[in-house]
Structures are given as structure tokens and as C-alpha cells.
Symmetry: C2
Subunit: 326 residues, 2 copies
């Protein structure tokens, strides 16, 4: 920086002012400095800057170590939103959702001096672990959880999973399928809990028991084989598209026709869901909006505002798997 200052014939402080867009620098001076910067190929050292400002301009994102559609899409959404407001994104993945892993990930980020933390960490255990850690920076939980403990500096934003589940279930009922079975995801995940709850709300007290599974297509496949053997309901609402895909596979294999024998609706609108056999009716989530909401919520936290929990509505995408052919 002092080299630049020398070349431009100003003080280091003026260079700093130019770099930070301070108003009280003559355009002429500003230009001279800019030229010197370009000529020397100077780049500001952000470590020094962070050291004195105590702000790194970095958002830490904790995400499960998988290529699952939801988490990765959320990560992309967050990165985009963060970049818009000039933040870098640092990533830590966790393999297990226990308190220790979370604790390590948070320590990792706090040591790094991030300005805020977003956690794509969808289980109740994780939420509890986070609530137990005092963080000097705001933390936003990406989750639709309706029961996140009210801890200071801990915010929550999410896509309204329950609403999405209601849309899916209601759609099946509207199509005339009276018996809607729910293949639920792992119940320690918030999203799985909420999708189950939304389904139950619409089905009412007379609903059949749900079936709990994992998130993978393999789980859906196993279950599909069992269902084909033990009796096929008129409609199934699967907790995500992968489960639905596994069901489709099993039913195809066993000669159970979709949607003629059983209608299916998924959740996520994964890349490719429009091209399953048959194309899958599903619930789409707007991950771009989710990322923006998370970043907004962190910024509000910096400004000292108390941020209400916010949810983004989900959207039903109707395709062939749930529409009875004429």
C-alpha cells in the first residue's frame, strides 16, 4: 500500500480512502491512485483489514456432506445471495448431525472470524446443539422448524414444508383419490416432520398410518416392493422425489401402473423429476429466495433488529404421475 501511495504521491491513508470509496477525495487524486494500483497490480490484504475492522465479510455455511438436492441447492442459493451483498462464503460440511460435529464446525468458523453463520442442518439434534452454543455472531438456521428454541442471535428461515405438504395432499384428494398414504422421511429431520404434519392436517383424523423411511431412492424401492405385495393404496405422497423415484421403480417392476393403479406425488422438484416414468408431480422450493431471505435475516440481525421467523411458500407442480388419464 505504501508503494502505491508513493507512486501516486499521496499518503497511505488516501489510498485507503480511495479503496473504501470515501467521498472526500478529489476525483483527480482518486484517479491517480487508481492508476498506481493498476500499474503495481496491488491487491488489498484482507487479513490486515479484517484484523482491524473485526469484520471478515465472510459468511460461514454449515451443510451436510452429501450431494442431496435440497442442501446443495440451498448452498447455491446462499452463495448467490451472499455475493450480492458482497460477502464471501466459507463452507464446512458435517457428516454426522451430533452436537460435537456442530460444535467443531461453529468453532472452526468463529476462529476464522466469520460475520455470520448459516446452517443447513435439518435435524432436531443439530438445532439443540446450536442453541447450546453461545455465538458472538448471528446464526441463521435454514429450516422450516416450528419449534426452534428461542435463543438470542439464532434466527430461522425456511420454505414452508407444511404448506407444501398440504398442497400435495389436497391435490391428490381433489383428483378423487380418497386414500392418500404418506411415505415419510426420517423423523429426526425437521422437513420430514413438517411434511408429515402437513399431510396429516389435510387428511384429518381418519388418515391411515404413515410409513417412515429414509431419503433415498433405495428406501423408496424397498418400500414399493412391500406395498406392491401387501396392497396398493389409491395415492401416495412421498416425502421427497428420490423416495418417489424408488416407488416408481418398484411399481414398474411389479406391473403396478402409475397413475392408473396408484397416483404419486413427490417433494423437491429435483432436476429430472419432469422426466421420470411417468413425469412426477411434486412440490417445488425456491432456493434462490431462501438464500436471499437467510442473508436478509443476518443483515437485519447486524442492524440489531429482531427478526421474525420467516417462511417461503412452496409451489405445486402437477405432472402425469398424479393425474388420472381421461
Amino acid at each position: 500500500m505504501s508503494d502505491v501511495a508513493a507512486l501516486a504521491g499521496v499518503s497511505h491513508q488516501t489510498v485507503s480512502r480511495v479503496l473504501n470509496g470515501h467521498p472526500s477525495v478529489r476525483p483527480e487524486t482518486r484517479e491517480r491512485v487508481a492508476e498506481a494500483i493498476a500499474q503495481l497490480g496491488y491487491r488489498r490484504n484482507s487479513a490486515a483489514r479484517t484484523l482491524v475492522t473485526r469484520r471478515s465479510g465472510t459468511l460461514g455455511v454449515v451443510t451436510p456432506a452429501t450431494a442431496l438436492y435440497g442442501p446443495t441447492s440451498t448452498l447455491v442459493g446462499l452463495e448467490e445471495a451472499a455475493r450480492v451483498v458482497g460477502w464471501f462464503v466459507s463452507v464446512a460440511t458435517i457428516r454426522q448431525f451430533d452436537g460435537d460435529s456442530m460444535h467443531n464446525a461453529l468453532e472452526h468458523f468463529l476462529g476464522q472470524g466469520v460475520d455470520g453463520i448459516a446452517i443447513i442442518a435439518p435435524t432436531t439434534e443439530v438445532a439443540q446443539a446450536i442453541a447450546a452454543i453461545a455465538s458472538p455472531v448471528p446464526v441463521v438456521l435454514i429450516s422450516s422448524a416450528s419449534d426452534v428454541p428461542p435463543v438470542p442471535h439464532l434466527h430461522a428461515v425456511g420454505v414452508d414444508q407444511r404448506h407444501g405438504a398440504r398442497l400435495a395432499t389436497q391435490h391428490l384428494l381433489d383428483q378423487g383419490f380418497s386414500e392418500v398414504v404418506h411415505v415419510a422421511g426420517p423423523q429426526d429431520w425437521f422437513d420430514a416432520q413438517d411434511r408429515l404434519a402437513g399431510w396429516r392436517e389435510v387428511c384429518g383424523p381418519g388418515a391411515p398410518e404413515h410409513i417412515e423411511a429414509g431419503w433415498d431412492a433405495a428406501d423408496g424401492y424397498e418400500l414399493g416392493l412391500r406395498i406392491a405385495r401387501e396392497g396398493v393404496p389409491s395415492a401416495i405422497f412421498a416425502a421427497n422425489d428420490q423416495l418417489a423415484l424408488g416407488l416408481l421403480h418398484a411399481f414398474w417392476e411389479k406391473g403396478v401402473r402409475v397413475p392408473d393403479d396408484v397416483a404419486i406425488v413427490g417433494f423437491d422438484d429435483e432436476v429430472g423429476a419432469a422426466h421420470y416414468t411417468p413425469p412426477l408431480t411434486t412440490v417445488r422450493q425456491d432456493f434462490g429466495a431462501l438464500g436471499r431471505l437467510a442473508v436478509d435475516s443476518l443483515q437485519a440481525a447486524f442492524a440489531g433488529k429482531d427478526v421474525a421467523r420467516q417462511q417461503i411458500p412452496a409451489e405445486l407442480v402437477v405432472r402425469a404421475s398424479s393425474v388420472r388419464r381421461a
Copy 2:
């Protein structure tokens, strides 16, 4: 840090030594310091550390702003490998593969003081843009490109796409399908180029013309409709699983049976490919190994070693879509 030193009754330097695992500290002293650290909830300020060591312990990863399976899996693989050697991962996504976007992303990271950069940026244009930028830190290109310009500090690692394509094509020929058509990906992507080249190597000069498409299932679907209309070959090697999925969709819709009328092989082994209709034969890439290789290669670069370009072999996964039923 001085608080910790005072509480432990040592100098700041001893605290630093404990933090860095320096050997010449008495176990007794070490413990006293550790206790003081715990008691005060002290966390080392990494900005100050970076400022003086000129190493941030951060790996910058540039990746396309999509939830595509390949790039996201590679990101996860990189993060895992980076964490093992104690690096943080910072992410920048790019929406366009032009020189400007790349330049911005690199500037972004260099200003942030990353120790190395990994680029999941698979087009020729990107590679040229990178080669044109002088980087003070090592850069590794995640790519199977056989023609990356030999620029100092620019390394390349990748999964051997050409080998994978040969496996896929040979498999189809071995199954007795004499006419193997290739639905290629966008030819400005290295991976698409190499998969095309591998296919052509095996097919020999008498090969039919390939068909170029995008990466999406929608592209495969459009193409599938056209193929069903204009004449179905005995086998198709699709450049990725999404294309294959689109083909399956179109063929199913038009009553073209797979693999009876046409055998299909994809590439990627995406989550779910085992449950397509029918389950898809495809080529699997080991993204975990890829991440480790990339990190190794950066570490070798630090050590001043000249790193040869390295490739990871691909693996064929045979499923129903390419095996003629008895």
C-alpha cells in the same frame, strides 16, 4: 492472548507455542495454558495469524452456480479432502464461463489471501481465461482436459472421462449392439469432448456421426422424440445420466422399449440412476478420490514439486438398461 498468558503465568509467545503444537514446551506448562484458554473461552484470531504468516489455510473453490451432480459432488469431495489436511474451503460460484467471470472470481480469492485455488470449471474458455491470469498461488483445474495449456502454477486433475467413455462403448459392443450412437454434451465442456473422443476411439472410423446436445434431461427428451420418429439405433451412449433420463422418458412415451429396442448407457451414476425405468447402466466417478487428488496436487505445488497431470480411472456400473433380456 495476553490475557491467557497472564492467567497461565507465561508469556504470549508460550501461548503461541502451545497453540501451534511446538515441541519445546513442558507438558506441565502446556496444560496450564490449555486450562487458561478453556477458562477464558479464548479463540485464536486467524486474521492476525494470516497477516503475519501469509497463509490463510483457505482453499478457494470456483464452481458453476448449478446443482448439477458432477460439480456439487466434486465440491463435497474437495471440502472433505481439504478438511483432512486442515484447510478451510471458500466458495465462489460463476454463472457464465467467460474470461471476465473467471477473472473476478480469481481476484476475489487472491484478495482474500487463499493459499490455493481449485476450479471446477469445465469449459475451454475458462481454461484459457485462467491460463491468462498470473496467480501468485497454485491453481488446480478439476478437469480431464488433455490440452490444458502448460502454464506454471496451473495443474490439472480429473477423472479419466475418455477411459469411462471407452468402457461404456465397449460394453455396448460386447453386448452385441453393433450400432452405438453417441449423444454428446456441449462441446465447449472438456468432459463432453473427452467422452466423445473415448466413444470414437472404440467405435473406430466407421462410427456414425454423434449428436450434440446440452446436459439436461429436457435436451435428452427432445432428442429422444426425434430419434423415435426418425429411427432407433440399437444402442445409445449418452454423455450424462440426465440426458439418458430424458431419452428414457421419450422412449417410454413413444413405446420404444429399453433395452429391447435400444440399449442405453449414461455417465455419472447420479443418485437415483439405479432406479430409473429401467435402471441405468452408467459410468461412476469417484469424487472423493478426485478431491483428495486435487488437494494433494496443491500441496505438492507448495512443496515446489512439479506435478504431473493425474487422472483417476472411471468405473462401469452395469444395470438393466444395457443388458438384453434372455
